[in-house]
């Protein structure tokens, strides 16, 4: 099956709604911190998990390239770059905001996931409407 532009349009519209929901939903209660975790063990788990997930993402992107037509693949990958940059910038600004001292809660992983998904969908929409050379 080849992923068409119409399919991508619908998918990213749904993703935009999901991203907005993640940002605006009530924050869940914080998970209990487990003190007994060795920091080195935690670091090792994070490192191994990152390698596994990155390998999975590389494999997934290869599958995308084969299954999506060239135009859709370029739309999706260019929009993903926008999502990464937006997520890094917004996390840095939000996390270091002076408003944190005035009661603005620090960003949760759900908030950041929402920002990433929403900005990915917005990037897709921007390139879809304005084109890559805008």
């Amino acid at each position: 099956m080849i992923i068409s532009t119409r399919f991508a349009d619908i998918s990213f519209s749904v993703l935009a709604l999901a991203g907005a929901y993640l940002i605006f939903k009530e924050p869940s209660s914080a998970a209990l911190a487990i003190d007994s975790w060795n920091p080195w063990l935690e670091l090792g788990c994070a490192f191994i998990l990152t390698i596994i997930m990155a390998s999975y993402a590389v494999w997934g992107a290869k599958l995308d390239r084969r299954c999506a037509e060239d135009y859709v693949f370029q739309l999706v990958t260019n929009a993903a770059l926008i999502a990464v940059i937006t997520s890094i910038m917004s996390h840095a600004i939000w996390d270091m905001s002076f408003l944190n001292e005035r009661g603005l809660p620090k960003p949760t992983s759900g908030d950041m996931l929402g920002v990433m998904i929403l900005s990915w969908a917005m990037g897709y929409g921007f390139y879809r409407i304005k084109g890559f050379n805008a």
Partner: protein, 67 residues
Amino acid sequence: MKNNLKVLRAMRDWSQAELAGHLDVSRQAINAIETGKYDPSLPLAFKIARLFEQNIEDIFDDEFAGE
């Protein structure tokens, strides 16, 4: 990148959907190429050139040539 895909398509009296069918891409992709919103990949550019029996540089205008 400017191109004369619309002219070539008109010469064969094809709709965007028909050209998309020949190239195995979506109509939206053809529209995006014709309006200059998207530059096709090299494999797709070769496919277009083969279909219209022309060289790539005769279809796509290299705006950076001579710089």
